[in-house]
Amino acid sequence: MSEALNAFEARSAKEIIARRTALELKNGMVVNLGIGLPTLIPQYLPSDIRVTIQSENGIIGLDKVQDDTRHPHITDASGKLAAVASGGAFIDSVTSFGLIRGGHVDVTILGSLQVDQEGSLANWMIPGKKTPGMGGAMDLLAGVRQVIVAMEHTARGIPKILKKCTLPLTAVHCVTKIITEMCVFNVTDTGLVLTELNPQYTIDDVQAVTEAEFAISKNLTEMNIV
Protein backbone atom coordinates (compact mmCIF):
# COMPACT_ATOMS: atom_id res chain seq x y z
CA MET A 1 0.00 0.00 0.00
CA SER A 2 1.34 3.42 -0.93
CA GLU A 3 2.18 6.02 1.67
CA ALA A 4 -0.50 8.33 0.28
CA LEU A 5 -3.13 5.63 0.57
CA ASN A 6 -2.06 4.98 4.15
CA ALA A 7 -2.68 8.64 4.98
CA PHE A 8 -6.32 8.20 3.94
CA GLU A 9 -6.85 4.74 5.39
CA ALA A 10 -5.84 5.95 8.85
CA ARG A 11 -8.33 8.81 8.92
CA SER A 12 -12.06 9.27 9.30
CA ALA A 13 -14.12 10.85 6.54
CA LYS A 14 -14.52 14.03 8.59
CA GLU A 15 -10.79 14.31 9.22
CA ILE A 16 -9.99 13.82 5.54
CA ILE A 17 -12.46 16.56 4.62
CA ALA A 18 -11.10 18.96 7.27
CA ARG A 19 -7.48 18.26 6.27
CA ARG A 20 -8.23 18.83 2.59
CA THR A 21 -10.27 21.96 3.23
CA ALA A 22 -7.47 23.45 5.36
CA LEU A 23 -5.40 23.65 2.17
CA GLU A 24 -7.88 26.15 0.73
CA LEU A 25 -6.94 28.75 3.32
CA LYS A 26 -4.19 31.16 2.37
CA ASN A 27 -2.26 33.64 4.45
CA GLY A 28 -4.24 36.72 5.38
CA MET A 29 -7.66 35.38 4.44
CA VAL A 30 -10.77 36.35 6.39
CA VAL A 31 -12.80 33.19 6.90
CA ASN A 32 -16.22 32.30 8.26
CA LEU A 33 -16.70 28.71 9.38
CA GLY A 34 -20.09 27.05 9.70
CA ILE A 35 -20.98 24.87 12.67
CA GLY A 36 -19.91 21.23 12.84
CA LEU A 37 -17.22 19.86 10.55
CA PRO A 38 -15.85 23.25 9.39
CA THR A 39 -14.85 24.09 12.97
CA LEU A 40 -12.35 21.19 12.81
CA ILE A 41 -10.38 22.88 10.03
CA PRO A 42 -8.22 25.42 11.97
CA GLN A 43 -6.36 22.66 13.82
CA TYR A 44 -5.02 21.37 10.50
CA LEU A 45 -3.78 24.72 9.19
CA PRO A 46 -0.09 24.60 8.29
CA SER A 47 1.90 26.59 10.85
CA ASP A 48 2.92 29.23 8.31
CA ILE A 49 -0.70 30.07 7.43
CA ARG A 50 -2.44 32.77 9.44
CA VAL A 51 -6.09 33.51 8.82
CA THR A 52 -8.64 35.69 10.59
CA ILE A 53 -11.83 33.90 11.52
CA GLN A 54 -14.95 36.02 11.50
CA SER A 55 -17.82 34.88 13.70
CA GLU A 56 -21.13 36.37 12.61
CA ASN A 57 -22.38 36.98 16.15
CA GLY A 58 -19.70 39.64 16.48
CA ILE A 59 -16.04 38.63 16.44
CA ILE A 60 -13.28 39.51 14.01
CA GLY A 61 -10.53 37.10 15.02
CA LEU A 62 -12.32 34.19 16.69
CA ASP A 63 -9.99 32.12 18.83
CA LYS A 64 -10.29 28.96 20.88
CA VAL A 65 -11.12 29.58 24.51
CA GLN A 66 -8.36 28.82 27.02
CA ASP A 67 -8.62 29.00 30.79
CA ASP A 68 -7.07 32.48 30.83
CA THR A 69 -9.30 33.80 28.04
CA ARG A 70 -12.57 32.45 29.43
CA HIS A 71 -15.13 35.26 29.62
CA PRO A 72 -18.90 34.80 30.04
CA HIS A 73 -19.66 37.48 27.43
CA ILE A 74 -17.52 36.08 24.64
CA THR A 75 -19.38 33.43 22.68
CA ASP A 76 -19.33 32.09 19.14
CA ALA A 77 -22.21 31.79 16.70
CA SER A 78 -23.36 28.53 18.26
CA GLY A 79 -23.54 30.16 21.70
CA LYS A 80 -20.47 28.40 23.05
CA LEU A 81 -17.75 30.21 25.00
CA ALA A 82 -15.09 31.55 22.67
CA ALA A 83 -12.21 33.99 22.68
CA VAL A 84 -10.88 36.82 20.56
CA ALA A 85 -7.45 36.58 18.97
CA SER A 86 -4.79 39.20 19.62
CA GLY A 87 -5.51 42.09 17.26
CA GLY A 88 -9.15 41.11 16.93
CA ALA A 89 -12.31 43.10 17.53
CA PHE A 90 -15.88 42.79 18.74
CA ILE A 91 -18.59 44.16 16.48
CA ASP A 92 -22.37 44.44 16.48
CA SER A 93 -24.68 42.43 14.22
CA VAL A 94 -25.20 45.20 11.66
CA THR A 95 -21.45 45.65 11.22
CA SER A 96 -20.89 41.90 11.17
CA PHE A 97 -23.31 41.37 8.32
CA GLY A 98 -22.07 44.50 6.60
CA LEU A 99 -18.70 42.77 6.45
CA ILE A 100 -20.29 39.57 5.17
CA ARG A 101 -22.57 41.19 2.59
CA GLY A 102 -20.00 43.76 1.59
CA GLY A 103 -17.53 41.14 0.38
CA HIS A 104 -15.03 41.68 3.22
CA VAL A 105 -15.03 37.99 4.16
CA ASP A 106 -12.93 36.05 1.66
CA VAL A 107 -14.28 32.56 2.09
CA THR A 108 -17.07 30.76 3.91
CA ILE A 109 -16.91 27.03 4.58
CA LEU A 110 -20.05 25.18 5.55
CA GLY A 111 -21.79 21.85 5.51
CA SER A 112 -24.98 21.17 3.62
CA LEU A 113 -27.92 18.82 3.31
CA GLN A 114 -27.85 19.10 -0.48
CA VAL A 115 -25.82 20.90 -3.12
CA ASP A 116 -26.45 20.79 -6.85
CA GLN A 117 -24.57 21.04 -10.11
CA GLU A 118 -25.76 24.64 -10.55
CA GLY A 119 -23.99 25.59 -7.33
CA SER A 120 -27.22 26.04 -5.38
CA LEU A 121 -27.36 24.83 -1.83
CA ALA A 122 -30.03 23.68 0.65
CA ASN A 123 -29.23 23.43 4.35
CA TRP A 124 -31.80 25.31 6.41
CA MET A 125 -34.97 23.25 6.48
CA ILE A 126 -36.59 19.92 5.73
CA PRO A 127 -40.29 20.64 5.20
CA GLY A 128 -42.51 18.82 7.68
CA LYS A 129 -39.52 17.50 9.60
CA LYS A 130 -37.07 20.11 10.71
CA THR A 131 -37.00 23.89 10.50
CA PRO A 132 -34.04 25.19 12.47
CA GLY A 133 -33.93 28.39 10.44
CA MET A 134 -31.31 29.97 8.23
CA GLY A 135 -29.45 31.98 10.84
CA GLY A 136 -26.71 33.81 8.97
CA ALA A 137 -26.28 31.19 6.23
CA MET A 138 -28.28 32.98 3.53
CA ASP A 139 -26.29 36.17 4.06
CA LEU A 140 -22.97 34.34 4.00
CA LEU A 141 -23.82 32.50 0.79
CA ALA A 142 -25.09 35.59 -0.97
CA GLY A 143 -22.28 37.86 0.19
CA VAL A 144 -19.07 35.85 0.27
CA ARG A 145 -17.42 35.21 -3.09
CA GLN A 146 -15.78 31.89 -2.26
CA VAL A 147 -18.23 29.38 -0.87
CA ILE A 148 -16.79 25.97 -0.03
CA VAL A 149 -19.09 23.12 0.89
CA ALA A 150 -17.19 20.68 3.13
CA MET A 151 -19.36 17.67 3.82
CA GLU A 152 -19.56 13.90 3.70
CA HIS A 153 -20.32 12.74 0.19
CA THR A 154 -23.63 11.06 1.04
CA ALA A 155 -26.14 10.88 3.85
CA ARG A 156 -25.70 7.21 4.77
CA GLY A 157 -25.43 6.28 1.12
CA ILE A 158 -28.09 8.69 -0.18
CA PRO A 159 -26.58 11.19 -2.64
CA LYS A 160 -26.33 14.80 -1.45
CA ILE A 161 -24.69 16.14 -4.61
CA LEU A 162 -27.64 16.41 -6.97
CA LYS A 163 -28.71 17.62 -10.39
CA LYS A 164 -31.09 19.98 -8.64
CA CYS A 165 -31.71 20.46 -4.92
CA THR A 166 -35.12 19.18 -3.81
CA LEU A 167 -35.12 20.90 -0.39
CA PRO A 168 -35.83 24.64 0.03
CA LEU A 169 -32.75 26.54 -1.12
CA THR A 170 -30.50 28.59 1.13
CA ALA A 171 -29.04 30.41 -1.87
CA VAL A 172 -28.78 29.98 -5.63
CA HIS A 173 -25.61 29.70 -7.75
CA CYS A 174 -23.26 30.42 -4.88
CA VAL A 175 -21.05 27.38 -4.28
CA THR A 176 -17.54 27.53 -5.74
CA LYS A 177 -16.09 24.23 -4.49
CA ILE A 178 -17.30 20.95 -2.95
CA ILE A 179 -14.93 18.93 -0.78
CA THR A 180 -15.95 15.47 0.42
CA GLU A 181 -14.03 12.49 1.76
CA MET A 182 -14.08 11.01 -1.75
CA CYS A 183 -13.12 13.90 -3.97
CA VAL A 184 -13.06 17.59 -4.82
CA PHE A 185 -15.37 19.27 -7.33
CA ASN A 186 -14.96 22.77 -8.68
CA VAL A 187 -18.27 24.42 -9.52
CA THR A 188 -18.01 26.21 -12.85
CA ASP A 189 -20.46 28.05 -15.08
CA THR A 190 -20.87 24.83 -17.08
CA GLY A 191 -21.25 22.50 -14.09
CA LEU A 192 -19.18 20.37 -11.75
CA VAL A 193 -15.59 19.40 -12.56
CA LEU A 194 -13.88 16.59 -10.66
CA THR A 195 -10.39 17.89 -9.87
CA GLU A 196 -9.08 15.56 -7.13
CA LEU A 197 -9.79 11.98 -6.15
CA ASN A 198 -9.12 10.17 -2.87
CA PRO A 199 -6.95 7.16 -3.91
CA GLN A 200 -9.24 4.90 -1.86
CA TYR A 201 -11.89 5.37 -4.54
CA THR A 202 -12.33 5.18 -8.29
CA ILE A 203 -14.20 7.58 -10.52
CA ASP A 204 -16.88 4.91 -10.84
CA ASP A 205 -17.21 4.83 -7.04
CA VAL A 206 -17.80 8.60 -7.06
CA GLN A 207 -20.25 8.36 -9.94
CA ALA A 208 -22.24 5.69 -8.11
CA VAL A 209 -23.04 8.03 -5.18
CA THR A 210 -23.28 11.32 -7.07
CA GLU A 211 -26.57 12.18 -8.76
CA ALA A 212 -25.17 15.33 -10.34
CA GLU A 213 -23.43 15.17 -13.67
CA PHE A 214 -19.76 16.09 -13.58
CA ALA A 215 -16.86 16.48 -15.96
CA ILE A 216 -13.44 15.10 -15.17
CA SER A 217 -10.62 17.60 -15.19
CA LYS A 218 -7.84 16.77 -17.61
CA ASN A 219 -5.57 17.69 -14.71
CA LEU A 220 -7.25 15.30 -12.27
CA THR A 221 -4.90 14.58 -9.36
CA GLU A 222 -4.83 12.51 -6.22
CA MET A 223 -6.60 14.33 -3.41
CA ASN A 224 -4.23 16.49 -1.35
CA ILE A 225 -4.50 16.51 2.39
CA VAL A 226 -2.47 18.25 5.05
Binding site: G58, D92, V94, R101, G133, A142, L169, V172
Partner: protein
Amino acid sequence: MKKQLSAKQAVDMIPDGAVIMCGGFLGCGTAHRLMDALAASQKKDLTIICNDAGLLEGPNGEAYYGVAKLIHNHQVSRLVTTHIGLNPEATEQMNAGTMRIDLLPQGSLAEMIRAGGAGLGGTLTKTGVGTLVEDAKDYVVGRQNIDGVDYLLMRPLSADFALICGQQVDEEGNVWYAGTARNFNQVMATAADIVIAEAEQLVSVGEIRPEDVQTYGILVDYIVNGGQDDE
Protein backbone atom coordinates in the same frame (compact mmCIF):
# COMPACT_ATOMS: atom_id res chain seq x y z
CA MET B 1 -30.43 61.47 34.63
CA LYS B 2 -32.57 58.70 33.24
CA LYS B 3 -35.33 57.23 35.33
CA GLN B 4 -34.32 54.01 37.04
CA LEU B 5 -36.87 51.26 37.48
CA SER B 6 -36.94 47.84 39.02
CA ALA B 7 -37.28 45.04 36.49
CA LYS B 8 -40.89 44.57 37.64
CA GLN B 9 -41.71 48.26 37.26
CA ALA B 10 -40.24 48.20 33.77
CA VAL B 11 -42.24 45.16 32.74
CA ASP B 12 -45.43 46.66 34.19
CA MET B 13 -45.26 49.25 31.38
CA ILE B 14 -45.52 46.54 28.74
CA PRO B 15 -49.10 45.71 27.72
CA ASP B 16 -50.37 42.37 26.47
CA GLY B 17 -49.91 42.19 22.70
CA ALA B 18 -46.82 44.41 22.66
CA VAL B 19 -44.12 44.14 20.01
CA ILE B 20 -40.79 43.74 21.78
CA MET B 21 -37.26 43.60 20.44
CA CYS B 22 -35.04 41.51 22.69
CA GLY B 23 -31.28 41.85 22.25
CA GLY B 24 -28.87 38.98 22.60
CA PHE B 25 -27.53 36.06 20.60
CA LEU B 26 -28.39 32.70 22.12
CA GLY B 27 -28.65 34.50 25.44
CA CYS B 28 -25.33 36.33 25.27
CA GLY B 29 -26.24 39.99 25.74
CA THR B 30 -29.89 39.31 26.57
CA ALA B 31 -31.47 41.34 29.38
CA HIS B 32 -31.89 38.34 31.68
CA ARG B 33 -33.39 40.21 34.64
CA LEU B 34 -36.01 41.72 32.36
CA MET B 35 -36.71 38.28 30.87
CA ASP B 36 -37.23 36.91 34.39
CA ALA B 37 -39.60 39.75 35.24
CA LEU B 38 -41.48 39.41 31.96
CA ALA B 39 -41.83 35.67 32.50
CA ALA B 40 -43.14 36.27 36.04
CA SER B 41 -45.59 38.90 34.76
CA GLN B 42 -47.50 36.42 32.59
CA LYS B 43 -47.94 39.17 29.98
CA LYS B 44 -49.30 37.44 26.91
CA ASP B 45 -49.79 37.61 23.16
CA LEU B 46 -46.35 39.15 22.75
CA THR B 47 -44.60 39.59 19.42
CA ILE B 48 -40.90 39.04 20.07
CA ILE B 49 -38.23 40.13 17.61
CA CYS B 50 -35.01 38.37 18.53
CA ASN B 51 -32.11 36.70 16.75
CA ASP B 52 -33.07 33.28 18.07
CA ALA B 53 -35.47 31.40 20.35
CA GLY B 54 -32.95 31.10 23.19
CA LEU B 55 -31.75 27.92 24.83
CA LEU B 56 -33.46 25.33 27.02
CA GLU B 57 -30.49 25.55 29.36
CA GLY B 58 -28.06 28.39 30.00
CA PRO B 59 -24.29 28.09 30.37
CA ASN B 60 -24.57 27.76 34.16
CA GLY B 61 -27.41 25.27 34.06
CA GLU B 62 -30.17 27.89 34.19
CA ALA B 63 -33.51 26.55 32.96
CA TYR B 64 -34.70 28.44 29.85
CA TYR B 65 -32.13 30.99 28.77
CA GLY B 66 -32.94 34.20 26.92
CA VAL B 67 -36.37 34.50 25.30
CA ALA B 68 -36.83 30.73 25.81
CA LYS B 69 -38.36 31.66 29.18
CA LEU B 70 -41.18 33.55 27.49
CA ILE B 71 -41.70 30.82 24.90
CA HIS B 72 -41.83 28.14 27.60
CA ASN B 73 -44.56 30.18 29.36
CA HIS B 74 -46.59 30.43 26.13
CA GLN B 75 -46.40 34.23 26.32
CA VAL B 76 -45.24 34.64 22.72
CA SER B 77 -47.81 34.51 19.93
CA ARG B 78 -45.37 35.53 17.22
CA LEU B 79 -41.61 35.21 17.03
CA VAL B 80 -39.67 37.07 14.36
CA THR B 81 -36.28 35.42 14.31
CA THR B 82 -33.48 33.77 12.33
CA HIS B 83 -32.92 30.44 14.07
CA ILE B 84 -34.90 28.24 16.47
CA GLY B 85 -32.83 25.06 16.17
CA LEU B 86 -31.51 25.15 19.74
CA ASN B 87 -34.94 25.49 21.36
CA PRO B 88 -37.12 22.45 20.54
CA GLU B 89 -40.06 24.00 22.42
CA ALA B 90 -40.23 26.74 19.79
CA THR B 91 -40.52 24.10 17.08
CA GLU B 92 -43.21 22.26 19.06
CA GLN B 93 -45.28 25.42 19.46
CA MET B 94 -44.83 26.29 15.81
CA ASN B 95 -45.97 22.81 14.75
CA ALA B 96 -48.91 22.95 17.18
CA GLY B 97 -49.92 26.28 15.67
CA THR B 98 -49.83 28.09 19.02
CA MET B 99 -46.91 30.35 18.09
CA ARG B 100 -46.28 31.88 14.69
CA ILE B 101 -42.63 31.89 13.72
CA ASP B 102 -41.39 34.16 10.98
CA LEU B 103 -37.86 33.25 9.91
CA LEU B 104 -35.63 35.88 8.34
CA PRO B 105 -31.94 35.84 7.40
CA GLN B 106 -29.80 37.18 10.23
CA GLY B 107 -28.20 39.97 8.22
CA SER B 108 -31.58 40.96 6.79
CA LEU B 109 -33.08 41.09 10.28
CA ALA B 110 -30.25 43.35 11.45
CA GLU B 111 -30.57 45.66 8.44
CA MET B 112 -34.39 45.76 8.65
CA ILE B 113 -34.10 46.91 12.25
CA ARG B 114 -31.43 49.39 11.22
CA ALA B 115 -33.80 50.73 8.55
CA GLY B 116 -36.56 50.98 11.15
CA GLY B 117 -34.30 52.94 13.45
CA ALA B 118 -32.70 55.13 10.80
CA GLY B 119 -35.87 56.29 9.09
CA LEU B 120 -35.20 54.34 5.91
CA GLY B 121 -37.97 52.92 3.76
CA GLY B 122 -36.34 49.50 3.64
CA THR B 123 -33.16 47.76 2.77
CA LEU B 124 -32.08 46.13 -0.49
CA THR B 125 -30.16 42.90 -0.29
CA LYS B 126 -29.12 39.98 -2.45
CA THR B 127 -29.70 37.70 0.55
CA GLY B 128 -32.72 35.47 0.07
CA VAL B 129 -33.13 35.91 -3.70
CA GLY B 130 -34.47 32.63 -5.11
CA THR B 131 -35.46 31.28 -1.68
CA LEU B 132 -38.64 30.99 0.40
CA VAL B 133 -37.77 34.36 1.97
CA GLU B 134 -39.26 35.94 -1.16
CA ASP B 135 -42.68 34.60 -0.11
CA ALA B 136 -42.66 36.37 3.29
CA LYS B 137 -44.79 39.24 2.09
CA ASP B 138 -45.07 40.81 5.56
CA TYR B 139 -41.35 41.46 5.35
CA VAL B 140 -40.48 41.61 1.66
CA VAL B 141 -41.85 44.18 -0.77
CA GLY B 142 -40.51 42.23 -3.72
CA ARG B 143 -37.61 41.81 -6.09
CA GLN B 144 -35.91 44.91 -7.43
CA ASN B 145 -33.40 44.88 -10.24
CA ILE B 146 -30.68 47.50 -9.86
CA ASP B 147 -28.14 47.72 -12.68
CA GLY B 148 -28.71 44.11 -13.65
CA VAL B 149 -28.56 42.60 -10.17
CA ASP B 150 -31.60 41.18 -8.37
CA TYR B 151 -32.20 42.31 -4.80
CA LEU B 152 -35.01 41.85 -2.30
CA LEU B 153 -36.51 45.01 -0.88
CA MET B 154 -37.01 44.24 2.81
CA ARG B 155 -39.36 46.33 4.92
CA PRO B 156 -38.11 48.24 7.95
CA LEU B 157 -38.85 46.78 11.39
CA SER B 158 -39.70 48.67 14.54
CA ALA B 159 -41.18 47.81 17.91
CA ASP B 160 -43.03 49.18 20.92
CA PHE B 161 -40.22 48.23 23.28
CA ALA B 162 -36.57 47.25 23.05
CA LEU B 163 -35.08 45.36 25.97
CA ILE B 164 -31.31 45.64 25.84
CA CYS B 165 -28.51 44.83 28.25
CA GLY B 166 -25.05 46.28 28.67
CA GLN B 167 -22.11 45.48 30.88
CA GLN B 168 -21.97 49.10 32.00
CA VAL B 169 -24.79 51.63 31.79
CA ASP B 170 -24.28 55.13 33.11
CA GLU B 171 -26.98 57.24 34.74
CA GLU B 172 -27.67 58.99 31.43
CA GLY B 173 -28.29 55.65 29.73
CA ASN B 174 -25.03 55.41 27.81
CA VAL B 175 -24.15 51.77 27.31
CA TRP B 176 -20.92 49.83 26.92
CA TYR B 177 -21.14 46.15 26.02
CA ALA B 178 -18.58 43.50 26.93
CA GLY B 179 -17.34 40.89 24.44
CA THR B 180 -19.92 39.73 21.91
CA ALA B 181 -22.88 40.99 23.95
CA ARG B 182 -23.39 43.97 21.66
CA ASN B 183 -24.87 41.89 18.80
CA PHE B 184 -28.48 43.04 18.18
CA ASN B 185 -28.69 45.27 21.28
CA GLN B 186 -27.06 48.26 19.64
CA VAL B 187 -29.36 48.43 16.61
CA MET B 188 -32.53 47.48 18.52
CA ALA B 189 -32.05 50.54 20.74
CA THR B 190 -32.62 52.68 17.65
CA ALA B 191 -35.85 51.06 16.50
CA ALA B 192 -38.28 50.98 19.43
CA ASP B 193 -40.57 53.59 20.96
CA ILE B 194 -39.43 52.77 24.49
CA VAL B 195 -35.94 51.48 25.17
CA ILE B 196 -35.19 49.84 28.50
CA ALA B 197 -31.52 49.23 29.25
CA GLU B 198 -30.61 46.64 31.83
CA ALA B 199 -27.28 47.38 33.49
CA GLU B 200 -25.07 44.60 34.69
CA GLN B 201 -23.23 47.43 36.38
CA LEU B 202 -24.70 50.90 36.84
CA VAL B 203 -21.96 53.55 36.74
CA SER B 204 -21.71 57.32 37.10
CA VAL B 205 -21.77 59.58 34.08
CA GLY B 206 -18.24 59.91 32.75
CA GLU B 207 -17.13 56.44 33.75
CA ILE B 208 -17.77 55.23 30.21
CA ARG B 209 -15.53 57.32 27.97
CA PRO B 210 -17.42 59.06 25.13
CA GLU B 211 -15.32 57.06 22.66
CA ASP B 212 -16.54 53.84 24.22
CA VAL B 213 -20.27 54.59 24.29
CA GLN B 214 -21.91 52.05 21.98
CA THR B 215 -25.58 52.78 22.64
CA TYR B 216 -26.16 56.47 23.21
CA GLY B 217 -28.09 57.64 26.23
CA ILE B 218 -30.32 59.77 24.00
CA LEU B 219 -31.90 56.52 22.78
CA VAL B 220 -32.51 55.00 26.21
CA ASP B 221 -35.68 55.80 28.15
CA TYR B 222 -35.32 53.75 31.33
CA ILE B 223 -32.56 51.96 33.18
CA VAL B 224 -32.99 48.76 35.13
CA ASN B 225 -30.15 47.99 37.49
CA GLY B 226 -29.63 44.29 36.99
CA GLY B 227 -27.46 44.24 40.06
CA GLN B 228 -30.08 45.52 42.49
CA ASP B 229 -32.84 43.58 44.21
CA ASP B 230 -36.26 43.84 42.67
CA GLU B 231 -38.90 45.85 44.52
